[in-house]
């Protein structure tokens, strides 16, 4: 078994000429939280879609927990232990919060009460207990993002892929969400998260990978990454001053 829960090798996808992810190599260690950052259109979500089976790579491999899962369909990959959220949240709008999370809970039981128990526990973990019986479509954006996480968590993943769960939240909500993600990570679930909110990413992740035009241009600790001239040029640009100072 390899040292990493997730190992991506030369991962590439070509959308009719546009190489959205280009020869990407990266790892997530067991129990680690890794950040994936990069400018808009850098290929971050595409990378998630390759890992989670939504797209089949043009080239390259995805190794999860020592097993080659390249090209498997999304539901199989989830069953193997990878949960994900969607950047554009996908709540089951006309179902309640509880029912939404129970869908995930059914991943490991066909018993309704057991699934409900799993769901209730997860709902508490993400802080949605006061909205248990609310319809998902009535939730605020912050709560919808919590719901995304809760649904994925209910499937009991070993690795959680979070696609911009902090985007669009106000500072208080970001703080709460950061604590939630840290808690999830502490409970032993490895995390790979896409984020634009840099401070928050740095608060959670000790390792960051930077993508630009589909290519990895840097990786390392938050300090290494933010001091990397390549990153400053390609991604941070003018914002760099603001972030560091």
């Amino acid at each position: 078994m390899s040292a990493s829960i997730l190992e991506v090798k030369q991962l590439t996808i070509n959308f009719g000429g546009l190489i959205a992810v280009n020869n990407l190599d990266m790892q997530v260690g067991y129990g680690e939280a890794v950040g994936l950052i990069g400018p808009n259109g850098a290929g971050k979500t595409s990378a998630f879609n390759l890992i989670s089976g939504v797209y089949k790579p043009t080239h390259g491999q995805v190794i999860f927990n020592g097993e080659d899962i390249t090209g498997l369909p999304p539901h199989v990959i989830n069953r193997k232990g990878i949960g994900r959220t969607f950047q554009i949240v996908k709540p089951f709008g006309s179902m309640t919060v509880l029912e939404n999370v129970m869908v995930g809970g059914f991943a490991h039981t066909s018993n309704r009460n057991k699934s409900k128990a799993i769901a209730m526990e997860v709902i508490e973990r993400v802080g949605l207990q006061r909205k248990v019986n609310a319809l998902a479509k009535s939730l605020t954006l912050a709560d919808r993002k919590r719901l995304e996480v809760a649904k994925a968590l209910a499937t009991d993943p070993k690795l959680l892929l979070l696609d911009e769960v902090l985007a669009g939240l106000n500072p208080t909500e970001v703080e709460e969400a950061v604590d939630m993600i840290k808690d999830i990570n502490k409970s032993g679930i490895s995390i790979l998260m896409i984020e634009h909110v840099l401070q928050a990413t740095m608060a959670i992740c000790n390792h960051i990978v930077v993508l630009d035009y589909g290519k990895k241009i840097a990786e390392g600790t938050p300090q290494e990454v933010t001091n990397n001239p390549e990153v400053i040029k390609a991604y941070l640009g003018d914002e760099y001053e603001a972030v560091i100072n």
Binding site: P73, P74, F92, V103, G104, F106, A152, T155
Partner: protein, 338 residues
């Protein structure tokens, strides 16, 4: 047992008591026949709903399942003297096979492929039956149709002289499909169908094998629909390809379920009974005035309900039901009519 629970059980008992005693008050065979047809349509709409309503898939060709169920059963009975009580399971199995053959390639695709496939195959099957006189040892009858061999009063062969046993049979079938719907809706598969109805990608990301979930639900739906076709054949005692397999049959199931409230357990029942009763009444009063006038009026009613109550008649009833139980319209009690 709390008060809400007691009220629910009380309501079920009252409805069942009324349903069971109807033949005591309604004695004219014609009226019993009309009421039986209302129950049958409620049953068929519920059967369609098992897959199409719960999973949000549009089948415009469920008539193929009534047809396959009925033809297989009647051919086995006419030519091999196999009782329809047994033959109906062969008919149901044939429908399941057909449903899987249609679903396997189309459920893999996104969009309207399934709906288009059901329309195409629906008309194909009807034309096929119309042009088939015999099939191996079986007499099919072509466009003339197939007459059910009469045996007088023969309960063992699903034939009765009186209309009353048919009424009770239809009632029993309706109760079974409602109980099954309720079970399905609250089972793991029911949750999966609700989820994939809203977003297939989100469903797959939670470990749901979307195609398998659809295939299983479609198979249930096809089986129940086929049994409805068998009942129809035994009640009418005559199979006409246009009536059992045609677009009228297919569309009617959709109308009734949607008007009642598709995707809910009781919506198709309410839609089937009320809308079919209305259609019988307007047919009675208007069909003499001008050819097809009753169909026009019927169509207007369908459009009207869909425009003003897209969630179906059940949505109105749900409010009264909640008030009766003394619970708020949203929240508290998670058990609801739908």
């Amino acid at each position: 047992m709390d008060i809400v629970q007691k009220k629910k059980i009380g309501l079920i008992v009252i409805i069942l008591a009324i349903a069971l005693s109807i033949p005591l008050f309604v004695t004219k065979p014609y009226y019993i026949h009309v009421i039986t047809m209302c129950l049958l349509w409620a049953y068929l709409a519920s059967s369609w709903n098992l897959f199409c309503g719960f999973a949000g898939q549009l089948s415009l060709g469920h008539g193929i399942f009534t047809a396959v169920g009925a033809y297989v059963t009647i051919m086995l009975f006419n030519d091999f003297n196999i009782s329809p009580w047994i033959g109906m399971f062969a008919g149901g199995a044939a429908a399941v096979l057909l449903s899987t053959l249609i679903g396997y390639p189309t459920f893999k695709l996104r969009g309207a492929y399934y709906a288009l496939a059901t329309v195409a195959i629906g008309s194909g099957v009807m034309v096929l039956i119309e042009n088939t006189m015999t099939l191996g040892p079986f007499h099919v009858g072509g466009a003339e149709g197939l007459i059910v061999r009469l045996m007088g009063n023969a309960p063992a062969y699903l034939q009765f002289m009186s209309k009353v046993p048919y009424y009770y049979l239809a009632l029993a079938m309706l109760v079974i499909v409602v109980v099954f719907s309720y079970w399905l809706k609250n089972s793991r598969l029911g949750f999966y169908l609700s989820a994939l109805k809203e977003d297939e990608d989100a469903a797959a990301a939670l470990g749901i094998n979307v195609r398998n979930a659809k295939l299983v639900a479609a198979a249930y739906s096809a089986f129940f629909t086929a049994i409805g076709g068998v009942f129809y054949a035994m009640l009418i005692r005559y199979l006409e390809p246009m009536a059992i397999a045609g677009p009228m049959m297919s569309n009617e199931m959709v109308f009734l379920a949607v008007v009642g409230g598709s995707g809910t357990v009781f919506g198709p029942v309410v839609g089937g009974i009320t809308l079919h009763a209305i259609s019988e009444v307007i047919q009675f009063y208007f069909s003499d005035m001008a050819q097809g006038l009753h169909l026009f009026i019927y169509g207007l009613i369908v459009v009207f309900v869909i425009m003003f109550k897209p969630q179906g008649i059940i949505d109105i009833l749900q409010k009264y039901y909640n008030r009766f139980l003394g619970i708020s319209d949203r929240g508290e009690d998670e058990s609801s009519v739908s």
